[in-house]
Structure formats: C-alpha cells, structure tokens
Symmetry: C2
Subunit: 366 residues, 2 copies
DNA sequence: GTGAAAGCGCTAACAA
DNA sequence: TTGTTAGCGCTTTCAC
C-alpha cells in the first residue's frame, strides 16, 4: 500500500482536527455543512482514501464478510500467462471447432453459490473477501481470511472441524451443504432427500425402470442424503435397494471408465445409473460413450446440482437443481443477522430444490 | 468482530512478550524452536486469530487485491430469500420443464474474468476482495474497496476517470477491456479488431454473405474496436461498409424487437447481423424468433465474448471467445509485479482471441 | 533469543 | 460545532 495522504494530512490542509475529518466522512450530520464540504473537497483534492485497516482496528469491525471456497479441480487448458501470454495480436487467430471444455469446470456448484453470496453482500453494504485453497497451508489461509472479516461462510470438507469451531468462537460462521454435527456453526442445506426421491420416482413411474445403481462418492452429508432419498424411493416402490453406492477410491470422476467396464463385464448394466452429483454424471457419460453405450437408450443417467455443463452436453443431463444463488443469499442473511443481533441462536436453514427433466432420463426435449 | 484473544493474551499466557508471539508467527526462524512451539500451542489453545486490520495498519500492506465488478444486470427470478426462503422441505418439489434462464445471466464475461483473478490471486498468496455496484454510492464503495487492498482491478465504465486516477496514485490499478487513454492505469485487453475481422471474413468467404449489419452499442472501446474489425473485413472484400452500428438508446437488449421490426419494415434484412457482444446477439435472436425469422436460414447472427449462454441456446451462437480466465490472471500478474517492484512502468497487455464456429452462422455442428 | 516501546491511521469518548 | 486524546492489535527497530 503506497503511502497516501492520511487524516492528518487532510486535517492540516483543511485547518481542522482529525476528528472533524473523520466525522465529515462517518457522521456527516455532526459537522457544519460548510466545514464538511470544505473537508471533503480537500480530501478529494489530496486523493485521500481512508485506510480500512485503521478503521477496522479502531472500530472493531471490518465491514467485510468472507467466503472460503473449494479448490477448483483443474486449471485452465490455456497456456500459462505471463511473457507467453502477452502474445501479439498479429499472430494468427484460430478458428475452432466448438468445444464445451471451458464450461466443464466453470461454473460449478460453488461458483453459483458464490454469486449469491456476492449479490447479497453488496446489497447489504458489505464487502466480500474470497479465499480458496490455492496454497499449501489451508489453515493459515483460513486464519488469514478469518482475521479480515466479521463473518465467514465455508463449504464443507474444506476445513478441519476443530479449526472451524475455534473461528466460530470469535465470529459467526455458516457451513453450507452439511447438516449440523452438534457444532457451533450455522448451516444452510437443501432438500437432498426429497429431491432425489422425486427424481427416482420419476424414473420408476414415468419411465418404468426397475433396476438401479447409485454412482458416486457418499462421504459428504449432502451426497449421503441423496443416496438415502434414492433408497427410500426404491423401497417405497417395492424394488430391490442397492446396499452401497458405486464409487472408487481416488474419485469417481477418474474411475468412471472402471465403473462402466465392471458393469459391462458383469452383464449388470442397470436401467438407470443415478449419480450423486452432476460432475460424476458427466464423467460417467463420457465413459459410457467411450464404451459405446448409448444414453439414454441403453441406460439412463441422472445427476444432482444443476450445473451449467449439464445443460450444455448432449444428451442434456436430467438432474435436480439446487437453488444455489438463494443459498448464497441465505448465508449472508444469517451472518448479518448474527452480527446485528449478537447472541442470536444458531440457525439451520434448508432450501427446496427442483427436478429438471432433460434428455438423459429418456424424456425427449420439447 | 467479536472480541477474541489478542497477542497480549497469548503473550501473557505463554509468559513471553508480544514481540515473541508476533515473531513466532511471522519470523519463525528468529525464535527458539521450543519457545515457538510453546507459543503456537498456546495460541491454538486460546483460539487466537491475528487481526488483519492491525497487521495491515502496522505493516503498511493488506496482502489483498481488489476487484471491482460490474453490476449484474438483473436479479434472480427466485423469490427473495429470508423468511420466505426458509420453506420447509415438506412442500412439493416441482418437476420443471427445462429452461436456460438461469444461465442467461450467469456466468457472463465478467464472471469468467473474475474466476481468473481469483485463481491467480490464491496461487500467489493474496486474498481477494470483490466489490460490485450494488449500492447507491459507487464512489464510496470503490473508495472502501481501495482502502482495503494493495492493488485494484476494475472493469470499464464502472468508475469515473478522475476517481480512478486518484486511486491509481496510491496503489496500482489495472483497467480491463479498455485501451489506455493516456492515463496512469495499467491495461489488459484482447484482440478485438483481429477477432472480428476473422469472424467477418468467415461469413464472407465460407458462407458467401454479401450484406451485413452491425448490431450493438459501440460506446466502449472494446465494442468500438470490434466494429472497426468488422468494417476492415468488409472493406478488404470490396463490400459495402455500414457507416454506423445499429443500436438504440436504452440498450440494444431491450430494443432488439425494434431493430428486427425496422429491418423487416424496410425489407432490409441483411445476410448477417454481426453483434458487438454475445448478450446482444442472444437478445437479437429472441426478437428474431419472436418475429418468425429463422436463424441461420433467413439471417445469420454472430456474437462476441464466448459466454456460456451462447453455448446453451439453440441454435448455438457462433462467436469470438475471449481468454477471460487468462485476462484475470494477467491482471493479477501485473498488479503483483508493480507491488514487488515499485516504480515499474505502466503495462498494457493484449491477449489473443479465438473464433468459435457454432450454428448461428450457418455452420452445421459436427 | 527475547523484551521494551514507538508507531501505523482511524474512531469515539470526552472536553472545550 | 470542533478539538484533544486514548486506544484498537500488530510489526519492527533497538536494547539487553
């Protein structure tokens, strides 16, 4: 931060005290109009920009909220920027065949939630500090963010529980997509069970499917709830209920090909492969296509989340869409509430979802 | 910011001075290993989180960069959150016909650039403060952000020039998508002229089109450069060059229907309507569809930017894709460079684009 | 290797 | 209405 003019400079130049300068900005009504105008114009003339650090320190509040996001799975396929990125415009401009790869990794679930957080923060007059686990030491980065804000929102599995608890002891914290573990955190989740139940019901009732596999990691509580909803629907219909989800260590996305090969080898291709997330469904579809298996003719595939990529791929992915922007807004709402009324009890809010029928379940578009 | 333990608390509890506590965190090598471990464990036990405000004030740097973004055009179509948003899961879950509306407004150009800024910030160990013009007083919000960060990135037309200059006098500032106006700002742009020239060439050479209209607002320097590239291509091909872009006060998006009606009324529907941006192209396509005009059979339409929505709509939009993530990364690269080596000369970097052929130009997919 | 002390720029009593 | 002043929590010489 280059040394810029401070309250002292403005005060001296305007011939007033620093308190008057401060008031001119924060408590305009407490300063005579003429004085205020004068101070403000001097400030403008000098290019005075109040230091948020100093204000935060003195006032005890930063006026900012924090969001600690996932690490993005992969980096761009563009070449690294820098000297190489500063290519001249004279080089030939490629005319590409179309590709959806750019939208496979963005926006994901977290990105849409983040957008909601941003919009609500700005609407409520807060600045937003975003952090991710780009660096080695997650805890250090988290502490860094936590030290900068009045309230914090985090995604699940991003941070060890005890670290989070410690932070929650100082500032309000909202954890998303994870049900309360009897902790000191606020929570915002969606109706995973219901969404998956209705989706599975659709496959059974409308498409008459009888055999199902559930594909995906079920470590997170969101995913586990979806598996539950899936099982409830099957049970209610009197169909056989798989005892376990199909998943492979190392992540389903990388193991999709293995899953498909296994299913083929065992002659056990079900009517539908219900996935815990859109990303897993997309990876599965790639593997299926690679194995020459047609979706939805040979097997139906469904996802959960409602990310943009599911709308872009062909066949388009049938899924359950989370109200991601609303989740982000709810998070901010809770945080500010706790800030405004200290001592509020912890909040847990569950938002509704909606089933979006597209092509991979066998429904024809239009 | 709830009162949490401070260096003083940790120091007292650990039986050392505050300097030692500070060193234990920032200059580990200056403290005896055993002392350091002890201090760190006390800190952890107490739930000590260093105050970024205090650090920023003392150290003169915040360790954060800022991004000041556009105002998003529209808000979500979901009902407002809050009491109403906290609906119970028991309510019926809608099974929707598919809709692309959610992806019409997100992610846009700025959102993808922001993602690049985020990724690069985190990779380089900086926190990111994002601000938008959600509130009435833009300048106040901007000053607020500026006071919190070591460097700032802004989108064009977001802020009055003189305000920006004043901030640039204190901290490095990068303006995107706007060529240098002999200012004190750094700039990151893309090859708008070249991209539009190649795209227009494609329409002429491959599709044999002869009559063209350029649709869109050309107030921004990005858009103006695109119009220029368009004209260059037509001129080089010996085709008539429109002297002005078709645009209506109030924004092309809202006026797309008027534009279409005018063109029809005058029997002047060209072979192709080349748009300055994807958003304008999308709005135009809606209007065209509403008027019963088929794209690309009756008229071709092209965009510029490469937003996700262009990939989602049918027919899919032919466009020029900007390397948005790279722009974001370049911005951060420049900022940190200036921070690390004060007195660096101002930088202007131009990035290459690529033409993406989809359906609206008449190219058949696959 | 550790401690004492002087700020960093601002806010908010309290005085005048 | 305006000025004086005591911190806010941390970093960083400079002594010890």
């Amino acid at each position: 931060m280059a040394k810029g003019p401070t309250v002292y400079d403005v005060a001296k130049r305007a011939g007033v005290s620093i308190a008057t300068v401060s008031f001119a900005f924060r408590r305009p009504e407490k300063v005579k109009a003429s004085t205020r105008e004068m101070v403000l114009s001097v400030a403008r003339e000098l290019g005075y920009v109040p230091s948020a650090s100093a204000r935060g320190l003195a006032h005890g509040r930063t006026g900012a909220l924090g969001l600690f996001a996932f690490e993005y799975l992969l980096e761009s396929t563009y070449p690294p920027v820098g000297a190489a990125g500063a290519r001249t415009p004279s080089e030939s401009i490629p005319i590409d065949a179309d590709s959806d790869e750019d939208f496979r990794l963005f926006p994901l679930y977290v990105d849409e939630v983040q957008r909601g957080v941003e919009l609500e923060c700005w609407r409520r007059g807060y600045a937003l500090m975003v952090g991710g686990r780009g660096h080695a030491n997650i805890e250090a980065v988290l502490a860094d963010i936590a030290g900068r804000v009045d309230g914090l929102a985090v995604f699940p599995h991003t941070i060890p529980d005890d670290v989070l608890q410690r932070i929650a002891w100082r500032i309000p914290v909202v954890e998303m997509s994870e049900t309360s573990r009897d902790d000191e955190l606020n929570h915002v989740t969606v109706d995973n069970v219901g969404g998956m139940r209705v989706l599975t019901d659709h496959l059974i009732k409308v498409h008459g499917m009888r055999t199902f596999a559930f594909v995906g990691d079920t470590a997170g509580s969101d995913q586990l709830a979806r598996f539950q909803g899936f099982k409830v629907a099957l049970g209610a219909a009197g169909l056989p209920v798989p005892s376990a989800a199909i998943a492979h260590p190392g992540g389903v996305i990388r193991q999709a090909a293995v899953i498909v090969r296994d299913a083929q080898a065992q002659g056990a291709m079900p009517d539908a492969m219900v996935c815990a997330t859109d990303q897993e469904a997309l990876a599965l579809m790639d593997a299926l296509a690679g194995a020459g298996i047609d979706v939805p003719r040979d097997v139906a595939v469904t996802g959960f989340d409602g990310i943009a990529a599911g709308r872009i791929v062909r066949p388009a992915l049938t899924t359950v869409r989370q109200p991601m922007e609303q989740m982000g807004r709810a998070v901010v709402d809770i945080l500010i509430d706790q800030l405004d009324r200290p001592g509020q009890p912890l909040t847990s809010r569950q938002l509704p979802v909606r089933v979006v029928l597209r092509e991979t379940c066998g429904c024809r578009p239009k």
